[in-house]
């Protein structure tokens, strides 16, 4: 993917290529079928051309907001900023958890070999 300057990125985005789609799919661990790729390309372009409207908003000096708790500063009680005590507690029963796994020996989740000898 080309290095794009942030300010021009939204305009440039009007043209998501099939290579972009494949690159992003790889980043997201998705294996798109050959039929899906052009459809996703079309949809991403349609959505991103609508998103381009954000470019017209002046956000100079405006702080980024990750979640609403930040807007309730000074009211930490309301903002849900408290963490529970770090205490030892029994966790969910291991057998119940392993029962849900597609492949397991009862102790570990089994996956294909990562390193060949």
């Amino acid at each position: 993917m080309n290095d794009t300057h942030p300010d021009s990125a939204i305009e440039a985005a009007a043209a998501v290529t099939l290579d972009h789609v494949r690159h992003v799919a790889a980043l997201a661990n998705l294996q798109l079928s050959p039929e899906e790729e052009p459809r996703m390309q079309r949809d991403l372009n349609a959505i991103l051309s609508h998103v381009a409207a954000l470019n017209s908003v002046d956000t100079t000096g405006v702080p980024a907001m990750a979640q609403v708790g930040e807007m309730l500063q000074g009211e930490a009680v309301l903002a849900g900023a408290t963490l529970r005590l770090d205490e030892q507690k029994p966790s969910v029963d291991r057998a119940a958890v392993m029962h849900e796994a597609p492949e397991t020996d009862g102790r570990f989740f089994k996956v294909p070999k990562v390193i060949e000898r």
């Binding site: 990125a9 954000l54 405006v62």
Partner: protein
Amino acid sequence: MTESATLSSIVTAVRNRTVSATTLAEEHLQRIRLHDQVPGQEINSFLSLAEERALAQAGAVDELARRGDPLPVLAGVPVGIKDVLAMRGAPATAGSAILKGYHPPYDATAVAKLDAAGATLLGKLNCDEFAMGSSNENSAYGPVRNPRALDHVPGGSSGGSAAAVAAGFCAASLGTDTGGSIRQPAAFCGVVGLLPTYGRISRYGLIAYASSLDRVGPLANSVEDAALLLQVLSGQDSMDATSSAAPAEDYVAAAKDPVAGMRIGLPDEYFADGLDPEIRAAVERAADSLRGAGCTIQRVSLPHTAYAVPTYYVLATAEASSNLSRFDGVRYGHRTENPRTLSALFRESREEGFGAEVKRRILLGTYALSAGYYDAYYRKAQQVRTLITRDFLQAFAGVDALLTPMTPGPAWKLGEKVDDPVSMYLADVYTVAASLAGICGISVPSGTTAAGLPIGVQLLAGHFAEAKLLRVARAVEAAENVSEWSAH
């Protein structure tokens, strides 16, 4: 017991033993079995029934009633749970093939609270896959039909939760709302849907879509029922660090307070082009009845409204791309057959398990977060989110609540928008701004179109201002009931 009996009347009947919780549970389960899957007219609102757990709970409630012991506040009330919430004794699919057959070994906090309050948990409700959608057509287990008009969508993503209440399959339900997913289906199906303030109800046990936006809330037949459920569900939870310590209030009592003297704002931007005239008329009727009840009605402006949909679709998809990385075919859910390598296991399991809309949103979110685009999309959207939230804070400095349309038009026909994701996203224009700002809101039924499709009006109030919100909502509902009576 009539299909729309209030929750408190159900509890009273169970307490007085005029009906048993077991009979109620059996009647509702039977109604679902007979009417939810009629061939050609499938409402398809329930994905699974938790018969064993429901009857055990109802039996325990009946035993308390028989002994004359005090009953919990939702004793015997039959409820349904959106399938994105974990509930012991039932699968949790999130409407996705990737979680087919997954049985969570614990209860979500909201589910546990309903259980502790004596409610009968009937089963799990259909929804758009991972709560991504506005029509419930994205479920891997088939679409839900609108019980009020079977060839129409029920809305989404909590389409099953709204349809099941509207069809009388349960007295109330739990839904979730990330960008409108409780309020919009409530409007389409003619029921009440409450979006609590971000932090008001714990999300522990909710299969996450977009964590800075996801909320759990009730759908019910009346504002009073929604208030009672909110009272039960609210409160801080050590298992959800974003849950607020703000004390739960007596929302049922608060909803009954008179509204005279309250200031209601009509945001100009919510009455722009594209609003269906019948819906506009319903909002104007609600404004008139609030004025008649002694409220002052004034125009307000939320200048960044037009940017809410693009902001939402950048932020929600970015968060989704991260949250949904946990579905990898290793610990639970679908795994591809005979993967050659670990990375093939991830990629192929996800390709087979996710539907088109989920892939679309994961791709969009990954794109928005990828190198070179992060500032232009993700950071920019976060900044616009601040501006949208400031608009609301400024408005609520001058008014107690806002009155708006819930949706630009009534429920559309099944299949009408499935090939056009942008037009589906644009239908969220009145819901997503409140989601981004974290404020509370509610959809209140407000008559029907000439074609008989339900209309909902939206009320919005500030952070943790649910008491005010419910007061105004109840006044709108009361006026609506009066006009319905006089029309008959």
